[in-house]
Symmetry: C2
Subunit: 177 residues, 2 copies
Amino acid sequence: MSLHVFVLEMKKLLGGLDGWLTKAVAHAEAKKFDPNLLLQQRLAPDMFPLIQQIQAACDQAKYAAARCSGKEPPSHPDNEQTIADARKRVATVVAYLDGFTKDDFAGVDQRKISLPRWEGKSMSAVDYFVELVQPNFYFHLTAAYVILRHNGVEIGKRDFIGATTMRPAQEPSPQSR
Amino acid sequence: MSLHVFVLEMKKLLGGLDGWLTKAVAHAEAKKFDPNLLLQQRLAPDMFPLIQQIQAACDQAKYAAARCSGKEPPSHPDNEQTIADARKRVATVVAYLDGFTKDDFAGVDQRKISLPRWEGKSMSAVDYFVELVQPNFYFHLTAAYVILRHNGVEIGKRDFIGATTMRPAQEPSPQSR
């Protein structure tokens, strides 16, 4: 089992997010309101609005892939104003994740990660991925989804989960990946 | 990297959910409403209410651990009526997950999973975990969290993420796990 499969899953889910945003625009147009107003919606006054949920999900996926493979993550300033901007941000991260291979994560079990704000402390790359990146990624992704559902956008659970690698009954046992 | 660390993380996060429910009861008592009313709150008419989000998160974690290690998952009927019942359900699953060891998942890369409703199709256990269990688990867990936040319960992002395995600066590189 390679950490790469978890990175590929984040890439797939961000592709799903792009689809939700397309449906959000269609919903706003049908209801005759500015779709970009959705970006400022939030589910509690002290929670992030949609645009920040999207930015945070993008950042978690990007940092995960970069740091768990020992690369320098690219910087993406949080300056998106419209849904078109948000979709561009998502597409940038999807393309970035697409550049990683299984080999990039071959040394993950030995890798140590230390961020400036951790004041000298460190985490193993696996702990960082399991305990910080994934919970944060899914938190922000789900929050974005729920904000859209709460505002009437017609998306369902299948738009969240997306396609799965289901195999026909006859196929031999899967190879390790 | 063992799949066991991802199961341990789900166990930790369910422990966090138990803490949110404790704070939910305190919030309801301070506001003088029946805390069990929270279990019927939802963020869209066609989304699960809190109690079903909790039940679904519990089930995903239980099924993941059982199926990825080749065991028969225990059956937990969805008959919870109160927050006390919901906390008991969470505690049951946390205790169940606690019984698994790294060795239980040693064969996960070769394991194949097939559920009756898949009509003969199958998934590799790793694909099942990465593409179905985790997204579903985090979806329902985050939805439960957001329902509580939306209803004024005083929990924050730290209550979601929980404690992490941060190491002091001097410690040698982590061992693979």
